[in-house]
């Protein structure tokens, strides 16, 4: 068996003869050659004979399960696009199939247009695949990630596996672990890399505007809608839509998102006709999504629709030597940008970095390194160059979170209201590991408010 399938003939493995005839008729009318089989054994024999690039595979076959057949096919020819066909009620099985490498799944009943769209998607994916199969295992690190820790190598492998399918990816991880980077890596590694990558932070946009941001609106559909606006879903047509902080999404909008996922159609605010879009969804959250479902803040059906391939990004403190590898790489790069020369970290700094809890993860590490590079000349990063508040995070010196010194009235006296606001917000963020949603909940304001304020402060700080 060759490692790359080469036949244009579509292999259909379906045990109900009339359904075989129906699917075959639809495919042949569209000009495809089709070979039909009714059992797993016949299907595997035909696959060996034909080297089919696309396999339509029923989930329940008389002699074996579709999952077992698909595993055999992908083991022999990993480039094959397997489209799983399933009856209603087998969604969990379909999810399992997607995780195991299926390209797409079709739920019975589906019409000929849906079937042909799935075939066309598979053909596009095949066209975009490299002609000579790459030995990805020989290149364990997935750019632009840095780090060789075992947990990250697993993440890279997962990203590579999921990239070849259309499956929805659900990224979890603490704030600052690189969830958007992960989403971009999935997009760039996929057959959609030539299409747009549109990222939307659901927590940064006021609830009232979010629907319009996702689905777009027509001019005059509400006060202030002075022009037609294309939403993120339409902007991502042919590419990937990344919904960050998905758990911040309003429940009403979750219903609309679910409908969008089920039908692949969007209806802009004020429009009457839906429009079909071809978008891959990747979403992320720093919360525990299942806990959000239990608390009634996230729709269970939407969770199962989205949570097809989970990717968990480990916190920096669990990535072993990655903290050193990232620091050494970035410090050189940043120094070049700032016109300084830094080449290494002092042994004491390495020791300190390994022991810090890094509540803000890689984002916090980047900020620390930028601070060092901007304020110092180099060539080696020493403990004295580190920001003093970082040293306070040392486990041996720092108080436990509940004992962390709180902002007192004395700290606030003599300051402007705007300064006090910033102190209070930054204190809340620090106590919640830089999690904007958590800090927003404590302060009883929307996360979007905090994102906007933080952006404004960062701009102002840069100007100083």
């Amino acid at each position: 068996m060759s490692s790359k399938p080469d036949s244009e003939t579509i292999l259909l493995v379906e045990d109900t003869p009339s359904l075989q005839m129906i699917y075959r008729a639809a495919l042949m009318r569209a000009g495809y050659a089709v070979e039909c089989c009714g059992t797993a054994a016949e299907g595997m024999a035909a696959f060996h004979r034909l080297n089919s690039q696309i396999v339509l595979l029923d989930l329940m076959l008389p002699d074996r399960t579709g999952l077992e057949v698909m595993e055999d096919i992908l083991r022999e020819a990993p480039q094959t696009c397997v489209i799983v066909i399933t009856a209603n009620g087998s969604i969990n099985k379909a999810v399992e199939m997607m995780r195991a490498g299926a390209h797409e799944f079709l739920v019975k009943p589906f019409d000929d247009q849906r079937l042909l769209a799935a075939i066309e998607n598979a053909r596009k994916a095949l066209r975009h695949r490299p002609q000579a199969p790459r030995d990805v295992s020989a290149v364990p690190v997935l750019a632009p990630f840095i780090g060789h820790s075992p947990t990250m190598l697993e993440v890279y492998d997962k990203i590579r596996s999921v990239a070849r399918s259309m499956a929805t990816v659900f990224i979890t991880g603490e704030s600052g672990t690189g969830k958007e980077l992960c989403a971009e890596a999935v997009h760039q590694t996929s057959a959609r890399a030539g299409g747009p990558f549109v990222a939307l932070n659901c927590g940064a946009i006021p609830v009232d505007l979010l629907e319009s941001e996702v689905f777009g609106h027509l001019r005059g559909s509400f006060t202030g809608a002075i022009n037609d606006k294309i939403g993120a879903a339409a902007a991502a047509d042919g590419g990937t839509l990344f919904l960050d902080e998905i758990c911040e999404m309003d429940l009403n909008l979750q219903t609309k998102l679910l409908r969008f996922l089920q039908t692949s159609t969007i209806t802009p605010v004020g429009a009457t006709k839906p429009r079909k879009v071809n978008v891959r969804i990747i979403c992320a959250t720093n919360r525990n999504p299942l806990e959000e479902v239990r608390r009634g803040r996230f729709r269970e059906d939407l969770y199962y629709r989205l949570h097809v391939v989970p990717v968990h990004l480990p916190p920096l403190r669990e990535r072993g030597e990655d903290v050193i590898e990232i620091s050494e790489r970035l410090i050189v790069q940043m120094a070049r940008e700032e016109g300084h020369v830094f080449t290494s970290l002092a042994p004491r700094v390495k020791e300190l970095f390994r022991s810090l809890p890094w509540p803000g993860n890689v984002r916090q590490l980047i900020n620390v390194l930028r601070n060092v590079v901007v304020l110092n000349e180099g060539p080696q990063v020493t403990v004295e160059m580190l920001p003093p508040d970082l040293l306070a995070d040392r486990p041996t010196l720092a108080p436990a979170p509940e004992e962390r010194p709180r902002v007192t009235m004395q700290d606030l006296s003599g300051r402007t209201l705007a300064q006090i606001e910033r102190i209070v917000i930054e204190d809340a963020l620090a106590r919640h590991g830089d999690s904007v949603p958590k800090a927003a909940r404590e302060l009883d304001v929307s996360a979007s408010t905090l994102y906007r304020k933080r952006e404004a402060w960062e701009k102002a700080d840069r100007k100083k």
Partner: protein, 126 residues
């Protein structure tokens, strides 16, 4: 099925088969496909009905699973719903209970077969 109408089923009861769905399937090919697919559908529904007569709970569950996909595809929505229900419970039922839950299913298959024959012969119901 005819008995159900005589026993007072409302006149508004939807047909066993959505003719438009089936016609759309037939329209994918010529008269040969119409005849071949009609005959194959008849054979498949009859085969599945036979399983409900004599099958073990496992076999009935498998048949119900197959039937729900087939029925939904050809526009037999009520039959698909009934098959879905049987698929969900079949494997935990005794023989007596199984006979009770499959009886209406078999009757509905018969109704679908009648409608199917009419559509294949292109003789719409008056």
């Amino acid at each position: 099925m005819e008995d159900r109408f005589l026993m007072g089923s409302p006149d508004t009861m939807p047909p066993a088969l959505d003719r438009a769905v089936l016609e759309a399937l037939f329209a994918m090919g010529d008269e040969t496909l119409r005849a071949a697919l009609g005959a194959q559908l008849e054979a498949d529904f009859a085969r599945l009905r036979a399983v409900f007569d004599h099958g073990t709970p496992y076999e009935v569950g498998r048949a119900a699973h197959e039937l729900k996909g087939l029925a939904a595809t050809v526009g037999a929505a009520r039959l698909a719903d009934m098959a879905r229900s049987v698929d969900a419970v079949a494997q935990g039922l005794s023989a007596v209970a199984l006979a009770a839950v499959t009886a209406p299913l078999k009757a509905e298959i018969s109704a679908v077969l009648v409608s199917l024959a009419e559509v294949v012969a292109d003789t719409p119901r008056p």
